[in-house]
Symmetry: C2
Subunit: 397 residues, 2 copies
Amino acid sequence: MSVPRIVILGAGYGGLMAAKGLAKELNENEADITLVNQNGYHYITTKLHEPAAGTAHHDHARISIPSIIDSNRIKFVRDCVTGIHLDKKVVQLKNNDSLLYDYLVIGLGSVPETFGIRGLLENSYSIRNINSVRIIRQHMEYMFSRYALEKRQELITIVVGGAGFTGIEYVGELVDRMPELCHDYDIPLEKVRIINIEAAPSVLPGFDQELVDYAVKYLESKGVEFIVNTPIEECTEDGVILKGGREIKAATVVWTGGVRGNKLVEDSGIETMRGRAKVDRYLQAPGYDQIYVIGDCSLVFPDENSRPYPPTAQMSMQQGKYLGRELAKVVRGGKMEQPFEYKPKGTVASLGRKEAIGVVGDRKIIGGTAALIKKFIEIRWLFLLGGVSLVLRKGTL
Amino acid sequence: MSVPRIVILGAGYGGLMAAKGLAKELNENEADITLVNQNGYHYITTKLHEPAAGTAHHDHARISIPSIIDSNRIKFVRDCVTGIHLDKKVVQLKNNDSLLYDYLVIGLGSVPETFGIRGLLENSYSIRNINSVRIIRQHMEYMFSRYALEKRQELITIVVGGAGFTGIEYVGELVDRMPELCHDYDIPLEKVRIINIEAAPSVLPGFDQELVDYAVKYLESKGVEFIVNTPIEECTEDGVILKGGREIKAATVVWTGGVRGNKLVEDSGIETMRGRAKVDRYLQAPGYDQIYVIGDCSLVFPDENSRPYPPTAQMSMQQGKYLGRELAKVVRGGKMEQPFEYKPKGTVASLGRKEAIGVVGDRKIIGGTAALIKKFIEIRWLFLLGGVSLVLRKGTL
Ligand SMILES: Cc1cc2nc3c(=O)[nH]c(=O)nc-3n(C[C@H](O)[C@H](O)[C@H](O)COP(=O)(O)OP(=O)(O)OC[C@H]3O[C@@H](n4cnc5c(N)ncnc54)[C@H](O)[C@@H]3O)c2cc1C
Ligand SMILES: Cc1cc2nc3c(=O)[nH]c(=O)nc-3n(C[C@H](O)[C@H](O)[C@H](O)COP(=O)(O)OP(=O)(O)OC[C@H]3O[C@@H](n4cnc5c(N)ncnc54)[C@H](O)[C@@H]3O)c2cc1C
C-alpha cells in the first residue's frame, strides 16, 4: 500500500519549516516527504549582506541541509527544479529523474525585480545567495586592489541601488568593512564613495520616520551618500545613469531594489503578480488543489483593500509552520481547520555590526539594543533549524 | 661647510643594505644620506609568491621603512623617481623637489622582460611588488567565485609563464592554496588546472637535474601540468597562444619569465644590457664617476668569458653591503680598496609551505629540511634589517 507523497521545493525559510513540521506531525506510514533544493545547504538570507561586504565568511551564512533534517523522515534530493507540471503532478529535475507528488509545496524564493531598468541584470550584482555574494565580495576587492596602480575613482566607488531593507543593511555592513579594506589596499578611507540610490522619496520607504532619520544620520556620518527620489534608468559597464541623465561611474553596482517570485511559479501556469502566486487563505495556489505556495513565491494580503505584505523570512517561516500543522490534517484525510494568519512580530534592520534600528511590537528600538535583538532573531532561526547544537556551532553575538 | 650628499634610489635589498652600511660607517659630519623609495615600505620580494597565491597576507611581505632605519642618520624621502640626470647630478622626483647628489647609488630593481611576446603586458600579471600581488590574488579569487554560476573551465585555469625560480615557487604556493580556495567556492579540486609553461627544454633551467626531477614529480603529483620547450607566442584576453598555434584558455595568466633592469637606468644614458648596467669591479656605472648601480639594475660577470650572474636578492645584498663599506672610504677622500666579489651561498626554491629544493655550499637539500633552510634565509634578512625585534614581529616558521 503506497502512502501519499509530499514534495517540497526549496529549502529556504518556508520550505524547511514546512518539511520539519510535516515530519513531526506525520509518521512514516502516513506520508513520504521529499525536500528538493539545488544546493546541499540552506542559506541564511538575512545574513547575506555580511559576506557580500566581506565582514563575515560566507560559511557563516549557510548550513548543511542533511545536518538539520531527520533523514529517516525527510528524503533530501539535491537537484535543480527545471519545471513544474501541475497537470501531470510531476516536478522536472535537472540531474535526477522527475518526481511524482500528491501534495506539492512550492517555496523556491525570489529573483531580482529589474523594473525594466536597462542593463541591470548584465551589469549589476544582487545579494541573493551564496554564489552571488561571493562574487560581489571578490569583485569589489579586485577593483580595490587595482586602485593603487590605476588610481581611477570608479574602482573604489560602490553604487547600491535601492535603499530598502536589504540596501540599508548592505550599506551599513560596507561602512563597517571599509577601514580594513582601505588599510589592505593602501587607500585613504575618505576617497571611497558609497552611494545609495532610491527611487522613492525617502530611504527605507514605509519605515518609521524617526528610525529612518537615525539610520540616515548614522550612515551619512560614515560617509555614505544618499540620492533619493531618483530612479536609476540604466546600468552600464561603467556605472549607472539616473533619471534626468546624470551618470555615476562605479565599478561595483549592487542591486537591492526589489524581488519577484521564482520564474518557475509563473511558468507552471499558476496565476501570479510580479511572479508571486496570489494564494488563498489556506496558502493554496488559486484554482489548484493540493498545491501550496509559500515564502517569496507567494502573495498574502492583510485584507481585500490593502497592499500585500512584503516578502520576508518572518512571513515565510510562519507560512511554513502553518503548513506543517494544517497540511498534515489534509494528508490524514481531514481538512484545514484554520486559515493562515500572519502575525508580524516586528522588524529590525542592522546598520553594520554594532548599530541597528527597528520596531518590536509597538516599541521603537535603536543602536546597540536593536543590534542585540537582531542577533537574537538570527539565533532563534538557528535554534528552530538545529536546536542548541546548531546555535553553538553557528551563532555569533 | 656642507658635507657630501649621498643619494640612494630604491629601498630594496641592495639600497637598504647600502644605506644602513653607510650610516654605520660615516657620522653626520661626514655625509648626508638620503634614501628614496616610492612606497613607505620595503617589500620582501622573496616572499611575494605567497600573497600572490593567497597563502599569506601581503602585510607579511612588507616592512615599514621608517621602522627599520635610523632617521637621525638616513633621511627617508617617500617619492617616485621620474628621471636621473647624470650631467647635472640631479634626481627628478614626482611630488617633491628634485634632489642634488654628490654620490648616487641606484638600486631601483627590475621590471618584467617580455621577450617581445605580444599582449603580455596588457593581459598578464607579474609578481613584482605588493600592488601587483594583491591584484593577482583578488583577480584569481574573483574568477573562482564566478565559476559556480558560469561553470566555464577557463575561470579556474591558471597559466604560469616561466618555470624558473619565481614560476616554480609560485606554482608550489598555488598547490598549497587550492584545497582551501576550492572549498570556499565549492569547486571540485580536480577541476582546477595549473599549467606552467617554459620555453627552455627543462623546468628550472640551470638547476641540478636531481632537484629538478624532485620538484617536477612533487608538483605533478599535486596536479600541476608542465609544458616545456614551448615558448608562449601571444597573450590574449582569453589566455595564451603557444608556438605552433595551440591555445590555452585561462582567465588568470601570471608571467614570471624574466626581468630586465628598471627603465630609469637605460633612460639616464648609462650603457645597459637588458636594461641592466654593466658595472665595473667597483660597481660603478661604466664611464661615470661616483655613480654606483646595484641589485637587479646591475650586471655582474664572474669573468670575461662567462654569462652574468642571475639577478637575486643575495647578489643585491652583497653589493649593498660592499658599497656601505667601500663607498664610505671614497666619501672620506680615500679610495675603494677591494673590488666587489660575489660569493654565492646557495639557492633554495620553495615548493609551497612544507617542501623545497636547493643547494647550500655543495650540498643538495630537499623536502622539509630545505623548507626549513628557506625560512632561516628569510629570517636572516629580517634580522639584518631590523634585528631581533623585527624577527619576532614578522618572522614565521
Ligand atoms: C540581505 C537580505 C536581508 C534580509 N533580511 C531580512 C530580515 O532581517 N528579516 C526578514 O524577515 N526577511 C529578510 N530578508 C528577506 C528574506 O530573506 C526572504 O523573504 C526569505 O528568504 C524568503 O524565504 P523563502 O522560503 O521564500 O525562500 P528562500 O529562503 O529564498 O529559499 C529558497 C530556496 O529555494 C532554492 N531554489 C531556488 N530555485 C531553485 C530551483 N530551481 N531548484 C531547486 N532549488 C531552488 C534556493 O536555493 C533556496 O534554498 C532579507 C533578504 C535579504 C536578501
Ligand atoms: C617571487 C620572487 C621570489 C624570489 N626569490 C628569491 C630568492 O629566494 N632568493 C634570491 O636571492 N632572490 C629571489 N628573488 C629575486 C630578488 O627578489 C631580486 O633579485 C631582488 O629583490 C633585487 O633587489 P634590488 O635591491 O635590486 O631591488 P628590489 O628589491 O626590487 O627593490 C627596488 C626598490 O625600488 C623601488 N622603486 C622602483 N622604482 C622606483 C621609482 N621610480 N621611484 C622610487 N622607488 C622605486 C621599489 O619600490 C623597491 O622598493 C625573487 C624574486 C621574486 C619576484
